[in-house]
């Protein structure tokens, strides 16, 4: 189903089982944070892992998604489903505009351009009246889903977030394993060759970028709904860096890696919350260790060790 290999099917079933069991063991709000981070990282991985383009500004799409969902929930009292969908659409629309500019360059320049464009979005959010500046948009109501599911209960909210994550995850998996995804991998391996075979590589890159940004916006919107807040942190470049770290640590270019990375990074932040600025230092050290000695990431190492595709 969904083009899963045997090992991936087993891993997917394990992941589903964990998603179902864990809220009865762990704090649901923590798990929702993990799931939002996992969806965000999976979307980011679509660009870096499968197109080979490092976007260093994914916080822009995540954060704008969060702002739009928060704003429409609070001031338009929309249905939660519509608000989250609008968050995703915002991410995609912004991705279309900024991606159109960024794909004009590749490699290191692509990373710098996406970073700079995201910084522009950050400054815009700092100045624009609708974001609430330094305060952000606070006390966003969770509202209702489809008009009748009350989301104020944490467990109800958890199942909705879990469904959004699994839906987004399957969508990304489907994209990667479609003919379109094969072309993306072809572009990653050898772009001139893909061009010579008649593929308009820029179009493919842009579509992948828009999809990735759309799902990032959805993740941001979901996060805003869960925590009832959208702030400048969501569009700040440290958030962009964190999603890179999450993906790298979990396993670049693996289907399950970003989710694993999200679990580790979120747990770390949770337990080190008292440590203050040391969190940044530890994140930096993990970054360096990953790059120097652990480039496959957790899932990548497991896959390599067991000779599996994960």
């Amino acid at each position: 189903m969904f083009g899963f290999s045997r090992s991936q099917s087993i891993a997917f079933l394990i992941m589903l089982a964990l998603i179902v069991i864990s809220p009865f063991v762990l704090y649901p709000v923590f798990l929702m944070r993990v799931l939002c981070a996992a969806l965000f990282a999976s979307a980011f991985n679509l660009m870096l892992g499968y197109v080979g383009l490092l976007s260093f500004g994914h916080a822009a799409y995540f954060g704008m998604g969060a702002y739009v969902t928060a704003w429409t929930m609070k001031f338009w009292h929309l249905d939660a489903f519509l608000a989250m969908a609008l968050g995703g659409l915002t991410g995609a629309a912004l991705g279309l505009v900024l991606g159109y500019l960024a794909i004009r360059r590749s490699g290191i320049y692509f990373a710098m351009i996406t970073l700079a464009l995201a910084q522009m979005v950050y400054f815009f959010c700092l100045e624009a009246p609708f974001t609430g500046g330094e305060d952000g948009i606070q006390q966003v109501p969770r509202g209702h889903l489809f008009g009748f599911i009350d989301l104020s209960n944490d467990m109800t909210m958890y199942w909705v977030v879990a469904a959004v994550f699994v839906g987004g995850f399957l969508m990304i998996h489907r994209i990667i394993h479609s003919p379109f995804g094969q072309v993306l991998k072809g572009i990653r391996e050898n772009e001139p060759r893909a061009t010579s075979l008649g593929y308009r590589t820029d179009d493919y890159k842009l579509i992948a970028f828009v999809l990735s940004c759309g799902i990032s916006g959805l993740a941001g919107g979901t996060k805003a709904l869960v925590f009832g807040i959208a702030t400048l942190t969501d569009v700040h470049y440290s958030t962009s860096g964190e999603v890179v770290l999450t993906t790298l640590l979990g396993g670049l270019g693996t289907v399950f890696g970003p989710a694993m990375g999200a679990l580790i990074v979120t747990a770390m932040e949770n337990y080190l919350a008292q440590a203050g600025a040391w969190v940044t230092v530890i994140q930096g050290v993990i970054f360096m260790v990953c790059v120097l000695a652990f480039r496959r990431g957790v899932i990548g190492e497991i896959a390599n060790w067991r000779k599996l595709t994960l």
């Binding site: 490699g107 990373a111 710098m112 600025a277 969190v279 930096g284 360096m288």
Partner: protein, 295 residues
């Protein structure tokens, strides 16, 4: 009062000077990035953190050892440069065979570590650094009062930038460097110790960032975030200029600072974003950058 385009002249020139100062820092930082990129093929994300380190080292020299501004202007870049050499030898040199993106990620991690450590030790509120006595006060230029220190920064930055350009373009060391940037194995075949050249290049680029940091210390408060505030804009500057030309980096840096300063006068809301808007226009019209070579 003299008015230019309906703006009081002192205000206009004041902002122009501020723009030139920001431009001086953009120029020095993007110059260092370009030199390092040319030789090592990595984008040194830690550049902002090392800039900040330069300011902090100057502050420490003054506070702990009583060493003043002018000796610090030499000492702090040396200390940070040696730190850079150690970094390059122990960590960064392990990545040369890998995709360039790993260098970016590694140095990003490095900047998190450096900034985090300084934040732990000194907090993020900022420490004051006094302008040296010789450079206090202001000079009447006829059309405006210029704070002496700000004029000094612009002049020194310009001198340092142009000397760097002269060393790279006009000396035999620079010629070796340029040759090694083009084709390292061939230069190595001529008996040049290329790995050492790479190490020294990184050290020099880092020292340049630290030098900019010392210059910045009396203007901005010395705080752990001063580098990351700058570096994102510097990346946009690098994209606009393209990293192919040394002189190009210098010109682009100063010019964008001035553009930013003018925007503060005419439309202050956009002053933080104007550099990025210029980047968008350049990407649309000339994707390889104003001074970049064709890909």
């Amino acid at each position: 009062m003299m008015m230019i385009f309906g703006i009081p002249a002192p205000l206009l020139f004041g902002q122009l000077l501020l723009g030139l100062i920001n431009g001086a820092f953009y120029a020095m930082l993007s110059l260092g990035l370009a030199i390092i990129f040319g030789m090592l093929n990595i984008i040194n994300f830690a550049h902002g953190a090392l800039f900040m380190m330069g300011a902090f080292v100057a502050w420490m020299l003054l506070d702990y050892l009583g060493i003043g501004y002018f000796p610090s202007l030499i000492l702090a870049p040396l200390i940070v440069g040696v730190f850079g050499v150690v970094l390059e030898r122990t960590i960064i040199s392990r990545l040369y065979k890998l995709d360039h993106l790993y260098g970016l990620l590694l140095t990003f991690g490095l900047s998190l570590v450096i900034e985090g450590l300084f934040r732990n030790a000194y907090g993020s509120s900022g420490l004051p650094y006094r302008i040296p006595n010789v450079l206090q006060g202001a000079t009447d230029l006829g059309f405006m009062f210029m704070p002496n220190y700000r004029g000094w920064v612009v002049v020194v930055a310009l001198v340092v930038c142009l000397s760097t350009w002269a060393i790279i373009e006009k000396t035999s060391l620079g010629a070796t460097l340029r040759a090694a940037t083009e084709n390292a194995p061939l230069v190595q075949a001529f008996g040049v110790n290329v790995p050492r050249l790479i190490t020294l290049t990184y050290g020099a680029g880092v020292a340049l960032a630290a030098f900019a940091g010392v210059l910045a210390a009396p203007i901005y408060s010395v705080n752990p975030n001063m580098g990351s505030n700058f570096i994102n804009t510097v990346f946009a500057v690098v994209v606009i200029g393209g990293m192919g030309s040394i002189l190009g980096s210098i010109v682009t840096g100063f010019a964008l600072g001035v553009v930013e300063g003018l925007t503060k006068v005419f439309y202050p809301q956009a002053s933080a974003t104007v550099v990025f808007l210029v980047m968008i226009i350049v990407l649309l019209a000339r994707p390889r950058g104003l001074f970049g070579k064709a890909a």
